[in-house]
Symmetry: D3
Subunit: 242 residues, 6 copies
C-alpha cells in the first residue's frame, strides 16, 4: 500500500526557465533510464521476489524512485512551463506545449512515450540485481550529463541530490548481490559446456578505420583459449582454392 505526502523529497528551485533544458530533463522523467523505469523495475521485481530480505530492499528503493520521479517531474515542469504561452518556447517541445499545455508527460527528450520495454525483470534475483546495478550506473551518468548542461544553481542542486542517490542504490544492490554468496559466473542451475565456455572467438579482425586487434585479460590468460575466427578457416580454404 502506498501513501503520498505533499513534500518533495528535494525542494526544487529554478532561476530562469530553460525550455530546451526542460526537454532534456524529461529523459529522467519518462525516458529509458529515468525514474519511472527505476521505480517500476525494482518495485515489480520486489513484487515477484521470494527472498524476503532482498524483497524488502527492492521495495525500499523502488518506492524512493517514485519520490524521485516527483522531484524530476516538478523540476522539468518549471523549465517547460513557458511552452504554454510562448511560441518560441513551444518550438522547443511542441508535444509538451500543444498536447500538454506546458505540463510534463511521460515522454523522453524527443517525445517518445515511456514503454515497459525499458525494463529488465527476469524473476531470477541475482540476475535482476545485476540489471539494477547497471541501471543505476546509467542513471548516474545521465544525471552527470544533465548537470554539465545547465548553469542554474537550483537545478544543479536538485540533480546532484538525485545523482547521489543513484550511487547509494548502486552500492546497496552490489552488496545485496555479494551477500547472496554466488559465484558471479554461475547463473541459474544448468552449467555451461566445459571447454567451449573457455574459448574466446576472435570474430572481428584486421586493422583499419574501425580499429585494430588487441589482447587483454578478457581474451588471454584467465583460462581463455583464443580461437581465431570460426568463420576464418572456411574463408582461408576458399582463398587457397583461387
Amino acid at each position: 500500500m502506498y501513501h503520498h505526502v505533499k513534500k518533495l523529497m528535494y525542494t526544487v528551485r529554478v532561476g530562469e526557465a530553460d525550455p530546451k533544458f526542460g526537454r532534456m530533463l524529461l529523459e529522467q522523467f519518462g525516458g529509458a533510464n529515468g525514474e519511472l523505469a527505476a521505480a517500476m523495475q525494482y518495485s515489480i521485481q520486489g513484487l515477484n521476489c521470494e527472498d524476503p530480505a532482498r524483497k524488502d530492499l527492492l521495495m525500499d528503493i523502488g518506492t524512493e524512485e517514485l519520490s524521485h520521479l516527483e522531484v524530476i517531474g516538478s523540476l522539468a515542469r518549471l523549465h517547460l512551463k513557458p511552452t504554454k504561452a510562448s511560441r518560441e518556447a513551444a518550438d522547443a517541445d511542441p508535444l509538451v506545449a500543444i498536447c500538454g499545455g506546458g505540463g510534463v508527460g511521460l515522454f523522453n527528450s524527443q517525445g517518445n512515450p515511456w514503454t515497459a520495454d525499458y525494463l529488465k525483470i527476469t524473476g531470477e534475483l541475482d540476475v535482476d540485481l545485476r540489471s539494477n546495478i547497471a541501471a543505476e550506473a546509467r542513471a548516474k551518468i545521465v544525471y552527470e550529463r544533465l548537470i554539465d548542461f545547465t548553469n542554474d544553481s537550483g537545478t544543479k542542486d536538485a540533480l546532484q541530490f538525485l545523482m547521489t542517490r543513484e550511487i547509494t542504490h548502486m552500492k546497496a544492490f552490489m552488496l545485496a548481490l555479494q551477500s547472496m554468496g554466488k559465484d558471479p559466473l554461475k547463473i541459474g542451475e544448468i552449467p555451461p559446456t566445459p571447454g567451449l565456455v573457455d574459448q574466446f572467438f576472435n570474430d572481428s579482425t584486421g586493422e583499419g578505420d574501425a580499429g585494430k586487434e588487441f589482447r587483454g585479460p578478457w581474451n588471454e590468460g584467465n583460462g581463455f583459449q583464443f580461437v581465431e575466427a570460426p568463420a576464418f578457416k572456411e574463408l582461408r580454404d576458399r582463398s587457397g582454392s583461387r
Copy 2:
C-alpha cells in the same frame, strides 16, 4: 565490414517440430534479451567506443552474436515451419503463420516487434560493460528456461551451445571492466554528495501480505546510515495531532 559464410556456428537438428516451443524460441531471436539485442548493443557500443582495446572486444562479441542470431533463427524456423500448412500449428503463432508463411520474423514469443528500446548504450565504457554483464546474465537464464521446456535433444544441444557462450561473454565483459581499474562506485566524473550518499532510506515499512522488513549488508554496516522513511516524520506528526 562484414562477411557471411554459409555454415551455422552450430548445426541445428530438430526431431519433431513443436510450434508452441518455436514461439518460445522467438524470445531469443526477436525478443528483449535475444541475440539481435546482444549483437546490436555490443556492436554499436563498439562503433562509438574510443578505447581501442575494448572496442575490439565489443566488436568480437557483437559479431559472434550475429552468428547466434542465425542459429536461433534457424532453430525457431524448424519448429515453426508447420504453421504454414497446418491450421492447428498456425493457431500457436498466427503472426508467423499468416504474415510470415511459417518463416520467422523479428518478433518475440507473443508477437511484439523487436525494438531498439531493448538496448542499453550510453557511450560511457564502464557503464556499458555493466549493462553487458547484466544482459549476458539475462540471456543465460532465458536459455536455461528454454532448455527446461523441451525434450528434443537436437534442440537442447543447440540451446546448450548458445547458453554456454553467454557465460563466456559475461566473463570477458567482467574482466574488461576490472582491467579498467576503476572504483566500482565511481561512475563518471562528478562525485556524489558526501553524507547523503551513505543514507539508506527505509521507504517500505511494516509487515503484511507484501513482506516484512529486514536488515542486511545492503542497509547496515558498510558505512550506511539507516534513515527511517523520509515521509515518516510528517505522517507521525500528523498522527500525533489527532
Copy 3:
C-alpha cells in the same frame, strides 16, 4: 514523497491458479485501462495542476491506484506462477514464463508492453477530469468482465474490491468537475463559430448490412440544424449530369 507499507490494500487469496486467467488479469496491471495507467494519469495531472484543491484530489486517487497496482499484480502473480515450472502453463503466457520466470511484468493480456500512449493528460483541468471519468468507466467494465470469467471466490472478491473503487473515483471526478461550475460545452477560451456549431452533418446514409439511419436528440431538437451529407450535393449533381 511516497511511502510504502507492506500490507496490500486488499489481501489476495487464490484457490487454484489459472494461468490463462492470470494472463487476462494483466490487462489491469500493464494494460491500456489498468491500474498503472490510472496511477500515472492522475498523479501526473496532479503534478501539473495549478488548482490546489483538485490537485489534492488527483494525488489522493493517483496514489490509491498505485496500491491497486500492487493488489492486481499480486493476484496475477498467483495465477501466473505455474508458468515457471509447467510447460502447459507456460504456453498460456510464454513471455511471462520465459522472460519473467513466472513473475508479472508490465504487459497486457497479449504481451504488449505498457506505454504512456495510454495516458490522456492535457493540462486543462476540466478536460482532464472528463478523461478521468471516462477512464474510470472503462476500468469498471473491464473488472466486471474479469469477474465474469472466473469462478475462484478469492479472485472474485479482490476484483470486486477494485471494481468498487472505480465507481468511487468516478463519482469524485464527476463532483470535482461539477464544482468547477463550467458550462459543460465550454472548453478553453475560444468560442466555437455560431451557426456552424449547431449543424449536424449526416455523413453516413442509407440502409444496409451496416445499419440504417436514425434521428434522435443528438441530431434533432436541442438547437441542431440537420444537414444532409456535405459531400452529397456534389454527388447528386454528378448523378444528374449523366
Copy 4:
C-alpha cells in the same frame, strides 16, 4: 462503403508557410488526440455497436472526422512543403523532410508514429460515449492552442472550423449518452460493494512544495465517508512504537 469527393470540407489557404508550425499541426493529423484517432475510434465503435440508433451517430461523426483528417493534412502539408527544398526548413522536421520529401505522414509533432494505443474502444456503449466526450474536449483544447500559436489568417480560419466541429460532436455525444437514461454511476451490470463505494481514501496528506490538503464536494457530503489514509494506521502504530 465509403466515397470520396474531391472537395475539402473546408478550403485551406496559407499565407506564408511556417514549417515549425506545420510540425505542430501534425498533432491533429497523426497525433494522440488528432483526427485519425477520432475517425477510427468512432467508426470502429460504430462497427461494433448493437444499438442501431447510436450506431448511426457513431458512423456519422466517424466519417466526418475522415474529412477533417483530409483538411488538417492539407493544411499541414502547405506549412511543411518548404522542408523538401530548404535545409533550414528541413531542420524543423527532418522526418518529414528526409523520409517524406516534404509531405505529411501519420506522425505527431515530434515524429512519433500514430498508434492504435491512442484509441479507447470498449464495446460498452455508454462507456464509449464517455470516452468520446472526453476525446472531443481534448481535441477542442488542442485546436485552441494551435490557433493561439499562429498569426496566419487562413490557417486560423481552418482551425476555427475544425475546433467548432469538436463542440458539435461533444454535444451530440452528451445527448446520446443522456438519452440512454442510465444512472451516470451505473456502469455495466455488477453493482459496487455498498459502504466501500462511499469511502474516500485520503492517500495524499500533509502540506509542502507539492500542495496541501483540501475538502470539497468530491470528498465530503454527497454520501462520502472520509477515510484517513489506509496506510496511515500502520505507520502511526509504528511511530508510536519508537
Copy 5:
C-alpha cells in the same frame, strides 16, 4: 470529403463463429499488411501527390480500401463475438474479450496495436507506386493464407472478394508506374557512380547448413562485375601471414 453508405462493399455471412480464426482475420484489419495500412498509405500519398492524374488513382484506391476495412472488420467481428460471453472463446483473444467486449479493435492477430510504422510514404511518386505494388502483393498472399485456413463458405467468399481486389489494384499501380515512362532503375535525380553500380559483392560465401553459392542473372551477365567478398582480401592476407 468522405461519405459513408450503410451497405458493405461485400456482404459478410458466417456459418459458425471461429474465434481463433477471427483472431487471424485481424491481420487484415489492424495488421501490417491490412486494409487500414493500405487505405492510409494510398490516401496520404494521394494527399501529398502533385501529379493530378495519379493523385486521382491514389484517392480512388485509398478510398476503396476504407470500404474493405469495413468488410474485414465486420467479418472478424462475427468470428470474435463469442469472446464476450464464453470463457473458452475469450482465451483465443483475451484483448478483444476483456478490453473490447468481443468487438474488434485495431490490433493484429497477436494483439499488437496498428502503427503508422507499417506505412511506406516517400513523396516520390514512382517510388511510392513501387511500395504500393509490393503492398498489394503482400495483401494478396495474406488473404490466400486466410482462405486456406477456413472452411466456412461465407467467410471464404468475402476473403475471395477482398483478395481479388488486391490484384486489380496491383495491376493499376503497375500500369500507373509504366505510364510514367521512367527507366525502372532511375530513381530521383542523382545518378549512381558508374562502375561501382555494376559490381556485385559476393558477401556470403561457402557451403553449409545455411546454403551454398549460386550464379544467376542477378549477379552475372546484365553488365554485372562479380566481386569476391570485399572483406575477403584482408582475411586472405591475414590467413597467408600465419
Copy 6:
C-alpha cells in the same frame, strides 16, 4: 556465420561536424528505410528462403547492408560527436547527447527507436523480392535527399557510395524476380475472381481543392471495366427521392 573486419566498406571523412545533419543521417542508421532495416529484411528472408539460388542472393545483399550500417553509423557519429560537450550541439539531438554521450543509437532523425515493424517479410519469394525492390528505391531517394542537404565533400562521397549500391541491389532484385518467370500479376496459388478483377472502382470523384478526375492506362483499356463509384447508386437514388 559472420565475420567482421576492421575496415569500413567506405572510409568516412568529415570536414566540419554538423550535428543537425548528423541527426538526419540517423534516418539511414536506425530509421524506417535505413541500413539495419535492409540488412534484417534481406537476411531474414534469406534465412527462411527455400530457393537455394535466391537465398544466396538475399544473404549476399543482406550482409552487404550490415557493412553499410557500419559506414553510415560511423559517418553519423562524426557529425553527432559534438553533442557530448557542447550544449548548443546537444540541443540538436538531446537523446544522442544525454543518453548516448554523443554516440549513435538505433534511432531515427527524431529519436524514434528502430522497430521490426519497418520490415516486410512474407516468406513468399516473389512477394519478398517486390518488397525489396521498393525498399531499395526508398533508400535511394532518401540518400539523394541527404546529399542535397550537405555541402561537406567527404560526407557527400560516402553517401554517394551508399546510394549507388542501392541501385545495384535494386537491379539484382529485379533480375532475380524476372528470372522466376512468373506472371507479375500471379501471386500465390488462388486465382482472383474473373470479371471482378477487371473492375476499376471510381471511388473518388468530382473536382475541387483536392484534385479532379482523370482517366489513364490504370483505369481504362488494359481490360479494365470502369465502374462508377459503388456507393454512388445508393446516393443517387436517395438524391432522386427528395
